[in-house]
Structures are given as structure tokens and as C-alpha cells.
Symmetry: C2
Subunit: 475 residues, 2 copies
């Protein structure tokens, strides 16, 4: 018998063998009743220790995929549910069919999964450089946190572990001028859950909610799921156009530090006007402090939350951009009037987040590793930003203007007046030369342009990619 | 100067010192301008290495809490926001005030936080034995998972990592007769998030939802948040009384393997009737497979999901009882008609769960550590169950009857007819002799009795506690 098994010596051997044997059995290529090769033989064939093969057979036996017949060898068993018998594919009549269909039709956040391929030079936004992840420090604190959880880990408070809330409050007080203490912090499963909780607590069917246009797509689906009426408020070089805010909104969602996708910062005048509007209308301001940690020039601007004297701003942040999206750690600094309702919502949504990761992050922050890491990131992203600005001031100057941004790892580029370039067509052409471009219109912009993220592209990559774009644009 | 700092030598020293110094500064006990003791002095006073104290001072300097003045020592700085200036405590007028208040009024899940004290002998339900947590195996797989995440970790699919979904599907196929493959599994933040997603997808304002009475409290708040009308369906010794199901429900929530709180298993006849009712009405059945993994007698009963040929059962499970609640890992096996809508809902709620824990659990399961762990748990809980049954058959027999349960780590005890004992009064008396008792009426039962959980009490503890209860009941 010739089993098709390929062993990659750089990976755990036993696991590979087990996975492939399982696959052969489940797919039917090793049929019911088939005899497996004796462990000694298979071990020789694959260059593995006999013990490794024997252990794999043992596990397959435990999993009831094979059985050992005394003195004869190991045989594939009849599978109880190799191909699970599925309910017939005819549509099932459900009392909630309309609601289910409406849910399916909601717009969902745009994001990249681990396995969706980037271009060789990719200007995707919102995705941090994985190579910057502070593996050594993180691992050390993670292991220490695990050791300290000598009791497996009972439930944590819905707001999150106190040590983490303290660390976040401390960080925000110093770094972002946010006025808060640990009691104001609710740890969430990424910023997305913070938005979800806020929307659920603030918006019911028919209520008006204002968002930036162009804006951050993930918020739209949440509002629609609640049956909100969405008011799209334009954005210009000073940020959200506050004069265009509707009088009857329950909330406004905004990205003042670094507008998504335009990258501009909200001006001081607009910040003031926004808070005045909120005081007049009773609306809550959701301040998404999206990648403000990466500041390259100028004094840090005050956060809206820091300017607010009225308790109307919910400040939302995340570790997805500064550490890694896969950690799913974010937070909301809740205004007093919302705090209890948000805690109830969090409690109902998932009780609380995983204790281990909160514990590890609390240690990581308290010991200064987070600050050190942010400094490294600012240095690296700063280099990339310089290359990007140089390219737009040089080879790309005839066609595109880069909007200014003080912070964050993306900027927006607008086509110059009179240019007849179509961003979607340019993106398609760029992809052929292995450059990933993202038209602003994908985020609801009415002006043609590009989102230029530099989280996933090296400084040299930026230079190379911009040269290629210039070649595509040259007549 | 005499700093009040207490060092516990079994804990990390530097961290304790740092925390206490921070506390002294923030509370104002070390006022602005105060000089800290020289490192050498404080080190001597506390019996610490001088380096430990110097590092703590360095961190406090970085955190801008103290400053070093050359040649003079370290001094407490003026705090930028020692007592954060808070918005005035006068109530803020918000456009959503009514909705916020309604959210605050929702019933939230009952659960024990890590720091809420149990009685010495405590019969709390739903809380597993922390000492059973498989630290060695878990730590090994966690560390391996972290090592393999060489790239920090990009986003994962909303449904969860494929390896974990495969492991869960495999486990459920063999252990619970669930018909599923990895594609049917959505990994959630504990069972609570699975219920949340299901309720959001199935129930809108005014819709009818049926729940067991007495039943599992966490489901009620979710339904009320959606504006559902709740139908309370009674439970007897055969489980949910299917004849009492309303004709117009969108969903029914049930715990067939081990009813919460009565502990009984749903009979085969009722299972059939429930599925027939669902087919007739178009309702979805939420099967909460709550602690069914701990089976002590009889053949495993088929899950409702395994009996369903129509795609109407959403099967929900959790690792909170089998491993630890703090992991926040659960899952829903989605019927085909709901799968896409649930994935959208998960995507909007929090995008996906933390990659590291999913990766670690996938390894832990694939390598057989989960099965091994479950066997250990069943052995230990089986011992406790025997002690409990012996006590109720003996000393407590005059007053109480234990309802039968085949699985799970709690049973319910009912007061015998004619008994005039009040469970709430008994619980109060028991607390005085350090026994924790939980009246069934807390879960909506109309019969007086007690929930007898044995997750947090040893076999000997059970015997001791039951003796005390008998003493309280004896005339």
C-alpha cells in the first residue's frame, strides 16, 4: 500500500502525520475496512520514529477512525458520520425568515483575513505591520499571566480586569488628554464591540444616527441592524462638516484624530462646534480615536473627550492597530450617563472578555513595554510616511495631491482637478504590476482618489510601488 | 519618612512596590513635591534589592508621576489629572435617555465574579472546579500556539479558526451525535454570545420567544433587549412541557440534556414533540447543551440537533464548564438557514474572537488532551454526585427529594409535600454555618427547593455540609 503522505521537516511531525491520515480516512481514500501499514513500515517509509507513527495510530483509534485488531493490525472503521447527513437543502420555512434575510443583507466590516492575499506592494489601510509585533515582550507577559492564573480563571467583571482598566486609563490620561479613571473604562472585543454596545444602547428603530461621509464602513451595518435612519455628514479638510449635522440625531460617529479614510485631523473650531451641537441636541458623540497613537508632527491635539465638560463623548480605542487585530482588545471610555447601560449591554453580549489576554496586556502596559513598542512603531511608520510624501511631491505630483495627516498609518490622495483618471481602473491596472490600491469611492467618497495605507509596505516598497503607479499614469 | 508599603514575598516584588508607590502618589498620601526615600534606604527598609527599587522609580519617572532632580533625589510631580476633572454629576439630557434607562433595567446574567466570596461549603451551580483545570497541558498548547503565531496575528474569519471548528465538529459528532462539519460551527465568546447572536437574528420587537420556566436567567435580558414578548413554558420531570408551547413563537430556548435548574433530562417523547412543534410553527429550537459532557449513567441521549431532519435546531455549547469560564469560548452549530445571518451578526458584533486562545484550544483538542481532561472531570464529579445522593437518601430524606439527573454537576432538590420549610429562610440559616444554598425560586421555580451544584465543593465537603443542613432542619 502506498499512502500519499508528505512530511515537512520544519513543522511538528506527529501532527502532520495525524492530520494527513485523518484526511485520507475522512475523504474515503482510505476506505472502511482498509488496513493501515504496520507502524514500523510507515515509519521507515516516511523517515519518522516508530513511536511517532504509533502515537498517531493511537489517537486515530481514540477518535474511532481506526481500530486495532489483535495480531492483525490496524483497520479503518466505518465512519459514523463521514459525510454528515444534512438537512435537505430545500429551504426551511422559518417564522423569522424576513428578519434573517435582512440580517444577511447588512453591510459587514471590510477587513482582511489572514489568508486573503495582499499584492506584493499593498497600500491597504488599517492593517498594521506584523513584523513590528513585540513578540519577546508579549510572550514574556503572556506566560507570566498564565502562571499567575493558578486557578484556571473564574469569571471577570464585565468591564474587564481592574489592572487593565487602570493601565488603559493611565495611558489615555497621559497620552491622549482623556479625562478618566479605571472606573470609566469598559474593555471590549476590539473597537467594533464598543461601537456595537454604544449603538444598541443609544439607537432604536427609526432613530437618526449621523456618520462621516466618506467614512469607516463597519459602523453602517450596526446602525442598519438597529433599524436606524442614517444621516451622512460630509467631511472636508477640517474634518466633519459640523454645520451639516442633523438636529435630531441620537449619536454622531466621528474620527477626529485621523479621519477615515481622508486622514485629516478635525480642526479646533469644528471640535468646539461639534460639542456645542451635541449639547444643543442631546446627542452622544462617539469619538473613534483610530490610530492616533502614531503621531508624526505637531502637538497632540486634545481629544474631544478631553474638551467635553458635559459627559457627551464616548471615547473608543483599540489595540488592533498598535499591537495586532487578532488580540481583539479595545475599549470605550463611557460617559457617566451611559456607563451602567453599556455594562449591562456588555454583560448580555458576552459576559466579559478572556481573562488571560487582559491580564497579559495589563502587565505589558504597566511595565512600560507598550510605550516602548509605540515608540518603535512611530519611528518605522514615520520613515514610511516620509517616503510616501516624497513620492507624491515628486513623480506623482502631476496627477495626485496627498491630503495632510499628522497621525496614523494612512493618508488619502486626491486626483488633481481636470484629471480624467478613474481610480477603479487605475487600481485594476496597478494590480497587474503587483501594487494594491484602494479607491476612496469604496468608502463612500464623492471625490475620486486613493487610500494610501502604509502598514503593510516597507519604505523601499513604497518607493518601488509609487514609481510603478507613475508609469501607469504617464501618458 | 515612613512609607507604608507591605511586600508579600510570594508575589512579584517589583510589581507590588510599583503598584503601592503609584497608589500613594495618586491618593495624595505622597503629595506633590514630596521627596521619595533614596533607593538604597527604601531597599533596606523593605528588604529588597536596590535595583528593584531603582527600576520602580524609573518607571514612575516614565509615567510622569515623579521626577529625578539631579543630585537631590526623586520628587512627586504635580499630577496632570490625579483626580480626573469629571463632568458635573448633574444629569445630562440625552436624546436616548429612555432607551438608556430601559437598557439599564434589563435583567443581566447571574454569575459569580472571581472576587465574590463563596461559603466554605458552597452548592453554587454552573461553576466548575478550578482545581481540575488542566494547567500543564493547557500551558503547553498555549505556548506552542503563541510560538506559531510568528506574525502577531492578522484577523481570523468571523466563524473562528478552521482548526478549532474542525476539532469542535469532530468532538460533537462523536460525543454528542451532532450532525455537523467545520463549516457549520461558529466559535463564540462563550455560550452567552451564541444566544445573543441567535436572538438578534431571530427576534424583533413584539415577536414571541419561548423559554423554560424555571430556567436559565441569562436568556431573559437578551430577549427583553430585543423587545420580545416572552412565553414562559413550564418544566416537569420529563423536561419542557411541549403541550404548553405557544403557536406563534419565533424560537424556543431549552436545556434538554440537563435542565437548568431542575437537572432532569428531556424524555424521548418530548424531544419528538418539540421537533414536531417546531416544524409546524416554523420556530427555531435553541438547544443549550449545558454541561452534558459530564455523564454519569445511561447511554448518551441523542441531541435534538441529531434528531432534527429539518434544519431547525441551533446547538449551543461552551468550554466554560469543561475548562474555565474565563476563556470565553463557546460555539453554535448553525442550521443552514441561519448560518449566513449568524456570521453577519458575529462579524458586526466583534469581527471575530481572539486568535491565540482558539489556536491553543484547537491543539488541545486535536491532541486528545480535552478527552483526557473530560474523563478526569467525570471521575471527580461522579464522586461528588454519589456523596450528594447518599446524603439525600440518608440524613436529608425526611425533608427533601433529589430530582434525578444523568449528567451535569448540579441536581435540584424539592421539599417534600407537607413540608413547611421556606428555602430562602433555610439559605439564610445555612449561610451562618458557612454553607451556600441557592433556592430554586431564584430561577423562577414555583415549587420550593434548592439548586445543589457540586462544582465548587469537595466530596468530603458535601458530606459535612449536608450534615449541617440536616441539623438545621431537625426539629
Amino acid at each position: 500500500m502506498d499512502l500519499h503522505i508528505v512530511i515537512d521537516r520544519s513543522q511538528p511531525l506527529g501532527e502532520q502525520l495525524l492530520r494527513q491520515l485523518r484526511g485520507l480516512i475522512r475523504s474515503g481514500r482510505l476506505a472502511t475496512g482498509a488496513q493501515l501499514p504496520p507502524t514500523r513500515l510507515l515509519a521507515e517509509q516516511l523517515g519518522l520514529a516508530r513511536q511517532t507513527v504509533a502515537e498517531a495510530y493511537e489517537r486515530l483509534t481514540l477518535e474511532q477512525l481506526i481500530e486495532a485488531r489483535r495480531g492483525r493490525g490496524s483497520f479503518v472503521r466505518a465512519l459514523p458520520a463521514a459525510e454528515p447527513e444534512r438537512p435537505a437543502p430545500t429551504p426551511v420555512r422559518l417564522a423569522s425568515a424576513a428578519r434573517i434575510a435582512a440580517f444577511q443583507a447588512l453591510p459587514v466590516p471590510l477587513l482582511r483575513f489572514a489568508d486573503s492575499p495582499l499584492a506584493r506592494w499593498d497600500f491597504i489601510g488599517g492593517s498594521p505591520e506584523p513584523a513590528l509585533f513585540p513578540h519577546e515582550d508579549w510572550r514574556r507577559h503572556l506566560h507570566a499571566a498564565q502562571r499567575q492564573m493558578s486557578q484556571g480563571g473564574a469569571h471577570a467583571p464585565p468591564a474587564g480586569l481592574l489592572a487593565l482598566r487602570e493601565a488603559i486609563a493611565e495611558h489615555l490620561t497621559f497620552a491622549r488628554g482623556v479625562r478618566c479613571s479605571a472606573a470609566d473604562v469598559i474593555v471590549t472585543q476590539g473597537a467594533q464591540q464598543a461601537f456595537d454596545l454604544l449603538v444598541r444602547v443609544l439607537v432604536g428603530p427609526g432613530d437618526v444616527a449621523a456618520i462621516e461621509s466618506p467614512g469607516y464602513p463597519p459602523i453602517t451595518g450596526l446602525l442598519q441592524a438597529q433599524g436606524a435612519r442614517i444621516a451622512h455628514v460630509p467631511v472636508d479638510e477640517q474634518g466633519l462638516v459640523t454645520d451639516a449635522l442633523p438636529p435630531d440625531a441620537r449619536l454622531v460617529y466621528t474620527t477626529p484624530a485621523h479621519q477615515f479614510p481622508l486622514g485629516v485631523a478635525m480642526s479646533a473650531v469644528r471640535r468646539r462646534a461639534l460639542l456645542d451641537w451635541a449639547a444643543r441636541t442631546g446627542a452622544v458623540v462617539i469619538e473613534d480615536d483610530y490610530d492616533s497613537e502614531f503621531r508624526f508632527e505637531g502637538q497632540p491635539r486634545d481629544s474631544l473627550q478631553g474638551l467635553d465638560t458635559d459627559g457627551r463623548v464616548a471615547f473608543v480605542g483599540s489595540f488592533s492597530k498598535t499591537l495586532a487585530p487578532s488580540l481583539r482588545l479595545g475599549y470605550v471610555i463611557a460617559p457617566l450617563a451611559l456607563r451602567d447601560a453599556l455594562l449591562h449591554a456588555k454583560h448580555l453580549a458576552d459576559v466579559h472578555g478572556p481573562r488571560l489576554l487582559q491580564h497579559a496586556l495589563a502587565r505589558f502596559m504597566a511595565e512600560g513595554a507598550y510605550r516602548k513598542h509605540l515608540r518603535r512603531c512611530v519611528a518605522e511608520y514615520g520613515l514610511r510616511r516620509e517616503r510616501l510624501m516624497a513620492g507624491f511631491a515628486g513623480a506623482l505630483a502631476p496627477w495626485l495631491t496627498l491630503l495632510p495627516a499628522e497621525a496614523g498609518f494612512h493618508q488619502a490622495a486626491l486626483f488633481k482637478a481636470g484629471s480624467d483618471i478613474d481610480a477603479t481602473r487605475l487600481a485594476a491596472l496597478a494590480r497587474r504590476v503587483d501594487v494594491g490600491l484602494y479607491p476612496l469611492q469604496g468608502f463612500g467618497a464623492d471625490r475620486d482618489g486613493l487610500l494610501m495605507g502604509f502598514g503593510r509596505i516597507t519604505p523601499d516598497g513604497i518607493a518601488a510601488a509609487l514609481t510603478r503607479i507613475a508609469e501607469l499614469l504617464a501618458p
